[in-house]
C-alpha cells in the first residue's frame, strides 16, 4: 500500500463524518435542486464544521463564504461539499509543507515539543524510521527524562529503526542530555538529530522554562539549532490547540506542526483554525501506529476529507 492510499484510507475513515452529517440535514435535502442556500441550511453547514473541531469563528466564516458562493448547478450535498472543500483547501494549501532535512545543517536538529500524550515519542520514532530508510544517519535524543519509561519507549523505537538513542537511564537534566546528544551528533557527522522532549502543559511556566533551557543550551553548540521546532498535536484536541501553539511558539519558536491520531473518529479540523490563526506549516499527519503511518500533510486530500467529498 503506498503512502497516498494510506493517507486517504486514514482520512476517509476519520473524516467522512461531515459529508454524512451534511447528507443527513433535513433542510439540506429539501434544498436539493435549488440554486441558493437559505439561512437554516447555512447554520447546519456551520454545525457540521463545528462538529469537525474547526471552531466557531472559522466555521462561521466558512459557512458565510458558502453563502456568497455561486453554485453553477443545482445545490445538493455534493456541490456544497465541493464548495466547502475548495474553501478549506485555499486555507490549507499554503501551510502544507513537508519536513525537510537541509544538508548544510550538520546535523539538522529537529526538536519535538507538545503537551503530554500528544504522541511526541511515537512521532520521533516514526521520523527516525523514515529518514533512516532514506539512507540518512539519524540520532535520537531521549529528552523526556520525566515520564516513567519514556526513555525505554524511545530505545525500543531506536532498536526497531536501527538508530542510536542517546539517553540518561536515570532521570537527569533534559538540557544537559540534549547538549550531549548534539555534541555526539556533530562528532559522528550525523544528518539528523531528533530531540524528544517531555510532555508539558503549556500553562505550567516552570516546565516551559525547562524547554527554553534546552534550546538555550543546544544553541551553545549550534547557533542555528533547532532547525525545526515541531509541536506535536493530538488530532482529537479541541480549541485548546490554539493555546498550545501560542504558548509553545512563545517559548520554543515553533516552526511547524505534526498532527497525530487522525486514524480515529476525530477529524482534526482545528488544523484549519490553526492555519488561519498562525499560518505555521503543517508537516505531517499520523494515521496509525506503524512507522510508515506518518504521512506528509496533503492540503487537497485533507480539505476534501474534511468537507466530506468522497475520497476515491
Amino acid at each position: 500500500m503506498n503512502w497516498f492510499k494510506k493517507l486517504k484510507d486514514g482520512l476517509s475513515k476519520s473524516t467522512k463524518k461531515v459529508s454524512e452529517s451534511l447528507a443527513n440535514l433535513p433542510s439540506l435535502s429539501a434544498l436539493i435542486g435549488k440554486s441558493k442556500l437559505d439561512a437554516t441550511s447555512l447554520e447546519e453547514v456551520e454545525d457540521a464544521l463545528i462538529a469537525a473541531d474547526l471552531g466557531t469563528a472559522s466555521s462561521i466564516r466558512l459557512a458565510a463564504a458558502l453563502k456568497a458562493h455561486k453554485f453553477t448547478g443545482p445545490v445538493d450535498t455534493k456541490s456544497i461539499a465541493l464548495a466547502l472543500a475548495e474553501g478549506l483547501e485555499t486555507i490549507l494549501e499554503p501551510v502544507a509543507k513537508p519536513l525537510k532535512i537541509k544538508a548544510e545543517n550538520r546535523p539538522h536538529v529537529v526538536l519535538l515539543v507538545g503537551v503530554n500524550g500528544s504522541g511526541k515519542t511515537t512521532t520521533a520514532g516514526k521520523l527516525a524510521q523514515n529518514w533512516h530508510a532514506q539512507g540518512k544517519k539519524v540520532l535520537l535524543a531521549a529528552g523526556d527524562t520525566f515520564r516513567a519509561a519514556a526513555v525505554e519507549q524511545l530505545q525500543i523505537w531506536g532498536k526497531r529503526t536501527g538508530t542510536s538513542v542517546i539517553a540518561d537511564t536515570n532521570g537527569g537534566d533534559a538540557a544537559a542530555l540534549a547538549y550531549r546528544a548534539l555534541a555526539q551528533a556533530i562528532e559522528e557527522n550525523a544528518d539528523v538529530l531528533i530531540i524528544d522532549t517531555a510532555g508539558r502543559l503549556q500553562n505550567r511556566s516552570e516546565l516551559m522554562d525547562e524547554l527554553a533551557k534546552i534550546i538555550r543550551v543546544i544553541r551553545k553548540l549550534d547557533k542555528s539549532a533547532p532547525h525545526d521546532s515541531v509541536i506535536v498535536l493530538d488530532g482529537t484536541v479541541g480549541q485548546n490547540a490554539l493555546s498550545q501553539v501560542k504558548a509553545f511558539s512563545a517559548v520554543a519558536d515553533v516552526s511547524g506542526l505534526i498532527v497525530t491520531k487522525l486514524d480515529g473518529s476525530a477529524k482534526g479540523g482545528v488544523v484549519v483554525a490553526l492555519a488561519e490563526e498562525f499560518g505555521l506549516p503543517v508537516h505531517a499527519v499520523g494515521v496509525g501506529e506503524e512507522a510508515d503511518d506518518l504521512q506528509p500533510f496533503a492540503a487537497d486530500e485533507f480539505a476534501k476529507a474534511l468537507a466530506g467529498v468522497g475520497v476515491d
Binding site: 463545528i50 502543559l201 503549556q202 500553562n203 484536541v237 479541541g238 485548546n240
Partner: protein, 501 residues
Amino acid sequence: MFDTLKSKLAEVFDGLARRGALSESDVGAALREVRLALLDADVALPAVKAFTEKVREQAVGVASMRAVRPDQQVIKIVHDALIEMLGGDAESLNISTNPPSVILLAGLQGSGKTTTAGKLALRLRTRDRKKVMLASLDITRPAAREQLRMLGGQAGVGVLNEVDGESPAQIAKRALQAAKLQAYDVLILDTAGRLSINEVLMAELRDIKKLTKPHEILLVADSMTGQDAVNTAEAFHKAVGLTGIALTRLDGDARGGAALSMRHVTGCPIKLAGIGEKQDALEDFDPARLAGRILDMGDVVALVEKAAEAIEVEEAERLAKRMAKGQFDMNDFLTQIRQLQKMGGFGGLMGMLPGIGKMQKQIAAAGIDDRMIKRQEAIILSMTKKERISVGLLNSSRRKRIAAGSGTSVQEVNKLVKQYQDMARMMKKLGGKTGAAAMKAMLGGAGIGAVGMGNASGVPDLSVLSRGLGKGLGGGVAQGLGSGLANGLPGLGGKPAGKKK
C-alpha cells in the same frame, strides 16, 4: 470568554426594561450567545443542543428579580444547569466489599491511562488503605508495561509480573487469579490505547470485561478533547458499558467542555480528575468547579468561600448599620481595607476573578496592587484618633505631618481624603434608605460586586456573593479601588462606583 459571554448577554438585555418575566425571545437571544460560548469551550454540539433546550425551559417565564439584572439571572440559570448536567454531587468509586474489586481503565492513545492507573493505585493505598495490584494489558505501546511497573513501584503497590507472549486477555486472567490468591483488595487493569473505530481492539476489550467482570470500567479521557469526545465516549460506552469517566490534564488551561459532552452521551458520572504530574494529583471530580471553568468564570466559589472566612460577621453588621445611618469615618474605611487584605489582598482577589488574566498588565501599569492598599492603611494609621473621626480637621499642616508619618506624599494623602469624601457623600445619599435597601443599591451600583470593577454582573450567585462580600466590604473599598481603577483602566472601571443601574 466568560467576559465575552457576560458582555454579550448584557448587550442582549440592554435596553430591556425590567419586565415581569423573561420572554421567549429574550431567552432565545441569550441562548445563542450561550451556545457559542459552550462551543468555544469544546462542548460537543449534541450536548450543547440538549443543554440550551434545558436552559430555555428553565429561563422562559422566570420572574425577574428586582436586584438582579436579566443577564445575571440567565447566567445563574446557565451555571446551575451546567452543574446539574455535569452530575450534581460528585460520585466516588465503587469498591466492592468482596475483594478483589477490579477497575478497568480504557481510552484512546495518550489520554493518560497508565499515569492515571499509577495515581489511582497510590490514592487507594494511602487514602482508602487498600491493598492494590496493578496489571498492564498494554502489549502494543513500547515500554508501556515498564512504565506501569515503575509507577507501581513509586506508589508502593503490587505489580503483576510480565510473561512474554501473552495476549491481553491472558494477562487479565492471570492478573485476576494472582489478585485473588494474594488477597489484593483492588486490581487495576491498564489497557492499551485504542481507537473507538477499531473493531478488533474493542472486541478485545469486551473479552477482558467478560473475563474479569470489573466493578468499575472507567473511560480515561483528556480534558483537552474536542468535539470527538461524544464519538469516543459513545463508542466505548456501547462496546463495554462504562461505569464512569476519569478526566485527565485538568491542570491545563483547556476549558474542559469535553466533560459535558461525555457525560451527556453516556450518562456516566465523572469520577476522577487528574490535576497534575505528581502521583498524588488525582482528585474527586467537582462539577461546580468545572461548570465555572467551562464558563471561564474564574474560581468564584473559592472567592466566596474566602470572603465568608475572612469577614467577621459582627464587625460587618456593625459597619452596615453605621453605613445605613450615614456614619462612615476613617476607622470604617480602615476596617474595610483590612478586610480586603485578609481576603488575600488585591492580588489574591484578582487571581480568583474571572477574565482578569489579560488585564493584569494594565493593572500593574496603573500601579494598583497590594502596596497601594498598604499605603492607604499607613496614611490612615498616621492620623490621630480625632482626625480619623472628623476628617474636616485635616488642614495642610496636618496633611504634611501625615504624609511624613506614613512615608507617603501630600498628594497621596489628598487622594485618599478625596476618595473617602466621595464615599461618605454616597453613604449619606443612601442613608435615608433602610439597611437592606442601601446594601442592595450599593451592590447594584458601586457594587463590591467583584470589587467594584463592574464585574458584579458576572458573578453567578449574586445572593451568596452579596451576603458574603456586601456585608463586609460594602462600598468603601469598592470606592477606593473603583475610582483608582476607573481612572487608570477604561476597560475595567466600566461601571464607575456610584452609578446606579
